[in-house]
Symmetry: C2
Subunit: 354 residues, 2 copies
């Protein structure tokens, strides 16, 4: 098939790691006989520097015309350290989310056998953990009405959700569960919050349409505990924006492989695939950054286009590289580190010869 | 000194575990020459059964006239399993919190060397962790205006905070930090929420009054990660109601000693000391429940009355009992379990002879 990918490398290590993901996609395309068209576009600090806007209209056009967006990372210390900066790289991300209608953030949490000793959890607790956190991304208290009283001594934030918003993301979560172990955990605080009660009612009403999925409901404080005590019990977790922010970040550290985790942001118009780590400016241009999270994001991209064998080929290659110790310095043993570009080359070759 | 303690044993294992805490307090009183007057009062399911109200006025009077409240646990399956029950035991807790103005929940998280292998975290990560979570208990989104649109398709919750509410609990948190390692972490989401910005501004303004305390600010999603990655870095954490609910529950499982953790709820009129675990109805009356969390709550009670040596005597006895293996079946090794009452007797004797 023909695949149109918008490539937004962004800042810091973004360009280097995205380049490796492209090598991997190219290898898959040649092996499985697909034609991939890449269109590069500016985002983040790079975009501010060049055209004064962290998410230029031109970039938005490129994204809108793509089947999927491959995203690197954004953020530059020169903006972080300047409190007077009028435009910030991060605003590019928010503008992109909004304009592309990215309503769901998907974070798979998997363990890598060769990295388990980096987990803060006990081996027997974390080994084999494999779940997905689905977070609502455009609603809730982060986007609600907020403000301060006139005397400045009182502040408020409002959390709102509509049945429509909740149904949309629950559909996605049910469908993820259907492709996995068919278990869905709805995380809320329905014993206290009106919005959570709407989430729970909506999910309960949808259960009938997904009879093959086993649904359970868990309060967010309980979920925060169980993630640490029994991470293996989860398959797909779905929750509102703020709970998802906390839970997905908590989940990202339990496997000890924060630098290896990919993500997808599913949108109304297209979807964006990116590593969960940042732009790591100290490492930029040094060919030392770990490209695996971006490569695994490319696997999610392929999966989103229903190219399941292709996605599996990428994941198999990643596992082989970890087993073979062809890894960057952040996870290397005994000082045997490969360069970013070497890891990309190795993965591409591995896919071709497998 | 004369100490007036309101004793509210509550339901399930409540009476048994509170009885052990009283033995311990009596031992301390005799050793340090204090006079303790206990006044028992009804709360929870027991109170509903006897007088139809889970927090009767009479109980409230007893609490108001006390220097401190020693609380067991509430909850009974016969109410949980009856969706039509008009009054529930848990309402007693809410009524008590409200009427006594319990605005802060304090949860110390400590590790017990003999129990570290029960922690879900790696030994080297958790060993020596020792911090306190201070949670605001009467404000925020749990108590804000909430509701549903007329067509029921939209729900909302409101989070509000005033400078006064925030200052009150920050004062308490600063004073806890002053008595400990002099480090305070304010947990918020000030990059997104208006209420969090008010929290942060208020804390920043108070820093000048507590020059000996090192203050840092952490977003709640980051705190949820760091609690697992580096629990030893924290001394006192303070946060708003909902974040505190999530963070304090997450914190309670990292040491593997959930059943041993005490708490204090600090009030305008008096303060309440109770284990963080529940009423464990399956074990009620069997003399097998672990009394340590309640005994350590009694230590917090003594501390709140500035009886620091007395509190230390209780904690030393608890550590000795753990080292000696005089423990209930939930944490016993090699089947060598003591009864609830035996642990209480052992602790009381230990305090007297030390
Ligand atoms: Mg986050
Ligand atoms: Mg809780």
């Amino acid at each position: 098939m023909n695949i149109n990918i918008a490539v937004l490398p962004g800042d810091g290590i973004g360009p280097e790691i995205v380049a490796q993901a492209q090598k991997v996609i190219d290898a898959v395309a040649s092996k499985f006989d697909h034609k991939v068209n890449y269109t590069n576009a500016l985002v983040g600090a790079t975009a501010i520097d060049q055209v004064g806007n962290p998410y230029p209209d031109e970039t938005h056009e490129v994204c809108m015309n793509s089947d999927a967006v491959l995203f690197g990372a954004i953020g530059d210390p020169k903006y972080d350290n300047d409190p007077k900066a009028k435009v910030r790289p991060e605003q590019g991300l928010l503008a992109m989310r909004k304009k592309l209608g990215l309503y769901a953030n998907i974070r798979p949490v998997t363990t890598f056998p060769s990295l388990l000793d980096k987990s803060p959890l006990r081996l027997d607790i974390v080994e084999g953990a494999d779940f997905v956190v689905v977070r609502e991304l455009t609603g809730g208290i982060y986007f609600g009405e907020k403000g301060r009283s006139e005397d400045l001594k009182k502040a408020f934030d409002t959390c709102t959700y509509t049945t429509e918003e909740i149904e949309r993301i629950l559909k996605l979560a049910f469908s993820y569960a259907g492709k996995r172990d068919k278990r869905l955990t709805v995380v809320d605080k329905a014993n206290v919050l009106a919005t959570s009660r709407l989430w729970r009612e909506t999910a309960q009403a949808m259960e009938a349409d997904y009879k093959d999925i086993e649904v359970d409901y868990m309060f967010v404080d309980n979920a925060a505990m169980q993630l640490i005590q029994w991470p293996k019990k989860f398959d797909v977790m779905v929750t509102e924006n703020m709970f998802g922010d906390i839970i997905s970040d908590e989940a990202s550290v339990i496997t000890g492989s924060l630098g290896l985790l990919p993500s997808a942001s599913v949108g109304v118009h297209t979807s964006v695939f990116e590593p969960i780590h940042g732009s790591y400016p100290q490492a930029a241009g040094k060919d030392i950054a770990n490209p695996i999270a971006t490569v695994l994001s490319a696997a999610m991209l392929l999966e989103s286009l229903d190219l399941l064998d292709e996605a599996k080929a990428v994941r198999d290659a990643v596992n082989e590289s970890l087993d073979a110790g062809v890894v960057t310095e952040d996870i290397a043993r005994d000082g045997k580190a490969s360069k970013t570009s070497e890891v990309g080359d190795w993965l591409a070759n591995c896919i071709k010869k497998n």
